[in-house]
Amino acid sequence: MQLRVRALETILTEKGYVDPAALDLLIETYEKKIGPRNGARVVAKAWVDPLYRRWLFEDGAAAVGSLGYGGNKSEHLIALENTPAVHNIVVCTLCSCYPWSLLGLPPLWYKSAPYRSRAVADPRGVLLEFGVDLPKNVEICVWDSTSEIRYLVVPMRPAATDGWREECLADLVTRESMIGTGLPKQVDEVAR
């Protein structure tokens, strides 16, 4: 693959279709700069600021854009509210659609055949593989990313975090908790 990719890069740059500086920028941005920390800050703000929370559920793209986390692959965004009665989980059965500007590039498992094939048909079984065992009466809403709308799960705020600052709360928000295959860390899992 290394040789095949080098061939494509040589042709595309020799013919002037792509700018080498643009390639560097793309790699630098998505490998180093943009990651799940962005989404974690959005969730933490939604936990402490009721007005922001309402805005996030009403107009997700505008609300995340106000924090500088909008843009490529989150142009249209629906935030999904987890509650004691409803748990949301996001998949792209057709490939790998994912809110890049909030979570970075998707992990391998998200793009893999086991997840894509089973998340829609057996979400509870998939959640168990991630160690998430929800009560039997919790409704499970699966969201299949079939359009340019992207989804961000807003998990429930962990117990015993009253008075925590946003920055500390963001440390509890895992990538998986924003996809719906995990839950946020609990207070005893982090050193304060």
């Binding site: 080098r6 498992w109 299949d144």
Partner: protein, 219 residues
């Protein structure tokens, strides 16, 4: 198309494997192909939906045997040939053998920076009134186009409820085959798990997805 990419509901792939502390890229060529595809796509030579169609057109035995970014390599080779950016001889030789095709515009670093910051919105002014409203029951059409579509097989023929009206968006089925934006109304449709997966499936589960108006018929 009914290709290998449309995986919802398939059996036999085994449990989900999670790699602890996974790196963003697993090899240098993955970095390069990620950037090359995004930069070449931003040059306007083809659309995002055409990229998807090309990837889904990889024959199922090959599709299922390739890693995620290896699929991108095959797709970029195919797209470059199909859209006249390179010949098969050039790809085999690994270098340019002739002049550039003037259809593509070079995506500069500044243009890529703008794309990252602003994105590429897919909503468009509506061509007419929406046919459905929240709460309407609809059936996903039993359709099997041989070209790109975003209506997965597992919902075709099944009944769901309009949960949201999501505006008017570029229609991938048209955009993928060079017919332009052709915007249509987009809806969130919610399907009960049992409607999709039968009476032995989880009664507490549902699947919601975005479906364009041409995918749906009224009940």
């Amino acid at each position: 198309m009914n290709g290998a990419a449309d995986m919802g509901g398939m059996h036999g792939f085994g449990p989900v494997q999670v790699e602890p502390n996974e790196a963003v890229f697993h090899a240098d060529w993955e970095r390069r192909i990620f950037a090359l595809n995004n930069a070449a796509g931003a040059s306007g030579a083809w659309t995002l939906d055409a990229f998807r169609q090309t990837r889904e057109s990889i024959p199922p035995p090959e599709y299922l045997s390739l890693s995620y970014y290896a699929l991108w390599v095959v797709s970029l080779e195919n797209l470059m040939i199909e859209h006249g950016l390179a010949t098969a001889e050039e790809i085999a030789a690994g270098r340019s053998l002739g002049p550039a095709n003037p259809v593509a515009t070079k995506a500069s670093a500044a243009a890529i920076a703008r794309m990252i910051a602003r994105g590429t919105p897919y909503d468009r002014p509506p061509p007419g009134l929406a046919k459905f409203k929240t709460g309407d029951r609809v059936r996903a059409k039993n359709m099997h186009p041989k070209t790109h579509t975003r209506l997965p097989r597992y919902v075709r023929g099944h009944v769901g409820v309009i949960a949201r009206v999501d505006g008017c968006h570029v229609f991938p089925d048209s955009n993928a085959i060079g017919r332009g934006d052709d915007p249509h109304w987009l809806y969130t449709v919610r399907f009960d798990g049992r409607e999709l997966w039968g009476e032995n499936s989880d009664p507490t589960a549902s699947v919601s997805l975005a479906a364009w108006e041409p995918y749906l018929e009224p009940l």
